[in-house]
């Protein structure tokens, strides 16, 4: 019988905090494109931070503290103190700052930390941002514009392997296949699904997420699967099951897995009581449920999601069923299904049907990952949470244009997840 994580109840924030500005660069392969080749993390972070400040209607003089985040700063940027290196790029020279790093959960914790800094009463305006150059690494002992390819071998040996503890976990082995497939494996068994049926679900999810990404100017992908398939004389349903999209784990195809890339994003928070001075549409942060397990623990994503969700549910009195949009950090897209059910956004055991019927697409009645998610929008690891928050804020404001959800959203829930560690569940509320 599986145990549950039961952390202490969260206390309410000492004062309400709202997001008043967001900014995000497009996701891209900077070094592969002549228009972006040579961009560094310094410029990317700076651009996202400046966009967030402009969105909030403030200048750098108004920001009192800032956080930076990156999943692998020493490898990607060549720094162990990125906050100190970034500060001069957006007018923060000399101001207090800190860096944090929690792998792919970093971007969600960026929000949690900023909110707590304001809720404590110490600061009124805090910027929190991140940059990950997950495609174009810094070159050791060379200027920042000189980048090198972050290839798959290096990613597995120097990236993913560093998610696993070095006390008792098999050194240099990691457990990536288990982290990717084990929760889905138990879901398939519990719901008596065949391998073909869950493949159908994940394929349809890929098609729907790609449809959203193709309409989003910040996404890596700009073509739908239907358009890609037409180029080789196929339908999208044929193409997604063809040699162009092979399986590479027990359940996952290439389209079900993250697209590593480069990107940055930032947000600005302030006390809600001050927010209307800067914006007509503040987005209140109701809290962050948070649980952490290391990569040695079986089904860690399930247990930590449950623990984090129970906290935010108890704090707010709101459930996933009350939400209008759901985001799940999905470096394998089955996380959308599993996390949405665990957080009660979709009914237990029924989520796969919603996905098969495209009800979780951006234009469906229970939208999930309206930007396309990690597998179709892209994944610059430590920043993806901030990109999801960017997307959620824009959706709640009604500013997403062609990918604006059809429901009138009041609440958004975000389930953050890092490869073998932090899991968060956050709720945003449109004021």
């Amino acid at each position: 019988m599986a145990k549950k994580i039961k952390n202490k109840a969260l206390k309410p924030l000492s004062r309400s905090v709202s997001i008043i500005g967001v900014g995000a660069t497009p996701y891209m392969y900077t070094m592969d494109n002549p228009d972006t080749e040579g961009l560094s993390d310094l410029e990317m972070f700076g651009a996202a931070a400046i966009e967030a400040m402009k969105d909030a209607g403030i200048t750098a003089k108004d920001v009192e503290f800032y956080y930076s985040t990156c999943a692998m700063p020493a490898l990607q940027g060549g720094y162990i103190t990125p906050n100190a290196q970034y500060s001069s790029w957006f007018g923060m020279k000399g101001k207090a700052s800190a860096h944090h790093s929690e792998a792919c959960c970093s971007g969600y914790i960026a929000l949690e930390q900023a909110v707590m800094a304001v809720a404590s009463g110490t600061y009124d305006i805090v910027l929190s941002g991140g940059c990950d150059m997950s495609w174009s690494l810094a070159t050791p002992r060379k200027p920042s514009y000189m980048r090198r390819q972050f290839d798959n071998d290096l990613y597995i040996s120097e990236g993913l392997d560093k998610l696993y503890s070095k006390d008792y976990a098999a050194p240099s082995l990691g457990a990536n296949p288990l982290v990717c497939d084990s929760w889905l494996d138990s879901y398939v068994k519990e719901n008596k699904l065949t391998a073909d049926k869950i493949d159908d679900v994940l394929c349809q999810l890929s098609i729907d997420c790609r449809r959203a990404a193709a309409l989003n100017p910040r996404a890596l992908n700009d073509k739908t699967y239907a358009e890609e398939a037409a180029e080789v004389g196929m339908t999208d349903q044929e193409y997604i099951r063809s040699q162009y999209n092979p399986k590479f784990t027990r359940y996952l195809r290439v389209s079900n897995f993250e697209l590593r890339c480069d990107g940055a994003a930032a947000l600005i928070v302030c006390p809600t009581e001050m927010a209307y001075k800067y914006t007509d549409h503040p987005i209140e942060v109701l809290g962050t449920g948070h649980a952490t397990l290391n990569g040695m623990i079986g089904n860690l994503e399930k247990y930590a999601t449950s623990g984090a969700y129970e906290q935010i549910k108890e704090l707010t009195g709101l459930t996933g069923a009350d939400m209008d949009i759901f985001y799940a950090n999905d470096f394998f897209n089955s996380s959308q299904l599993l996390a949405a059910e665990e957080c009660e956004y979709l009914p237990k055991g029924e989520g796969w049907k919603y996905m098969l019927e495209s009800r979780t697409a951006f234009d469906g009645d229970r939208p999930i990952n309206t930007n396309g998610g990690r597998c179709q929008y892209g994944h610059a690891h430590g920043t993806s949470g901030l990109h999801d928050i960017f997307e959620a804020v824009k959706q709640l404001r009604g500013e997403m244009g062609r990918t604006q959800v059809k429901v009138d959203p009041q609440y958004a829930m975000l389930r953050g997840f890092g490869g073998g560690q932090n899991v968060t569940v956050q709720i945003l509320n449109k004021l």
Partner: protein, 138 residues
């Protein structure tokens, strides 16, 4: 002042002698396996050494895939599958991510039909240290 005890090293020394060591909480009886200083069940700050029976069950098998780092494991030990293994004494929620050696994907369906599947420790020599893996107990 607390004495800083070498827990990890002693655990590996136990493997050299064919022993699986854990730490028992004197307050609630919970077993920390693998061992840690404090009890993750009740939060008590002291635990005591104990020996683990080695009886365990695999609750999930996942075949090898491109997503793994596998330095020499297949070459040295042949077929294996990734597995979640829970020891009889229980710990870290309901199991740990690990490896079951000497079994290939060709047995996946058969093993899935019999979950949980008994496994036993398989202590193997790695580069300068012993490592705990598991094998089917059949």
């Amino acid at each position: 002042m607390e004495r800083v005890e070498r827990i990890v090293k002693k655990w590996y020394e136990g493997l050299e002698e064919g022993k699986l060591l854990g730490r028992r909480c004197p307050e609630c009886g919970h077993i920390e396996f693998p061992p840690h200083y404090a009890c993750n069940e009740c939060g008590h700050l002291d635990t005591e050494w104990c020996e683990i029976s080695g009886k365990a069950y695999a609750t999930c098998f996942i075949p090898q895939s491109m997503m793994q780092n596998n330095p020499g494991l297949t070459e040295e030990y042949g077929d294996f599958m990734w597995a979640i293994v829970q020891i009889e004494e229980g710990d870290i929620l309901d199991g740990m991510n690990t490896v079951v050696l000497k079994v290939g994907e060709d047995r996946l369906e058969e093993l899935n039909a019999k979950l949980p599947v008994p496994v036993k420790p398989c202590i193997v020599q790695r580069d300068g240290y012993k490592m705990l893996f598991w094998e089917l107990d059949e």
